[in-house]
């Protein structure tokens, strides 16, 4: 899952906004902690994907081991660290729980929509469906459905709290997620070089 992780940040936002003290950017950041850790490790060559070139990569041909960023036990550690850091900074238990929960939710979503992942080491039991390898188009459409459901939940939650979101902004949010998710669909099985390169 890529952009769809951001949709999870909408789930606790209405309630936390009521209480104040937890900025939305912190929820967005928490929802992507394992991903940003992976990107840093990938740049350092620790969890580097192959192929490295955007032109040669498709969802189904990428080979990557995300042992430190996405395996279950390291993700639990990340969630605990994030929750602890947020509590230390904001002194708000609900915000800390939400941020830690978003970290854990990130990897759980990736176990459904993503690559192969394990409990701890590379030889430990597998916990992911490897949907990018098996059915990348279906995985991307599932990500879209998840995101739309989160947005719907957020808009309903805001309406319940007497802050209905204007129709234009509702549509814009749906559109941004739809574009951010569906733009990867052509590269589900076909690398960009094959799509647009010389024949």
């Amino acid at each position: 899952m890529i952009v769809g992780h951001y949709a999870a940040a909408l789930l606790p936002w209405s309630r936390l906004k009521d209480e104040g003290g937890c900025p939305f950017w912190l929820l967005l950041l928490s929802a992507q902690v394992p991903e940003f850790l992976w990107l840093a490790l990938a740049l350092a060559g620790v969890e580097a994907p192959r192929p490295a070139s955007l032109l040669d990569a498709s969802f189904s041909n990428i080979q990557v081991e995300m042992l430190w960023s996405h395996n279950l036990v390291p993700a639990l550690v990340q969630a605990a660290i994030v929750a602890g850091a947020v509590f230390a900074a904001l002194r708000r238990a609900r915000a800390a729980l939400a941020c830690g929960g978003l970290v854990l939710l990130h990897v759980l979503c990736d176990y459904v929509v993503g690559f192969e992942h394990q409990v701890l080491g590379r030889d430990s039991p597998r916990v992911a469906l490897d949907s990018y390898g098996r059915a990348p188009e279906l995985a991307i459409l599932f990500e879209l459905g998840w995101s739309l459901a989160c947005i719907f939940w957020y808009h309903a939650s805001e309406a319940r709290r007497g802050r209905p979101v204007a129709r234009g902004r509702r549509r814009l949010l749906y559109a941004v997620f739809a574009v951010g998710i569906l733009m990867w669909l052509p590269a589900a099985r076909t690398p960009l070089r094959a799509l647009f390169g010389p024949r």
Binding site: I2, Y6, G20, W25, L28, S53, L54, L55, G162, L173
Partner: protein, 33 residues
């Protein structure tokens, strides 16, 4: 050059900014009485 990772970083940054702007613009903060 790991262009795949660089492209992903750019995509994450762009959508972070876009989603944050849409959700928080005109956001009323805590519930009004």
């Amino acid at each position: 050059v790991p262009t795949l990772v660089l492209a992903l970083i750019a995509a994450y940054a762009v959508f972070f900014a876009a989603i944050h702007a849409i959700v928080t613009r005109g956001s009323g903060g805590p519930r009004r009485p």
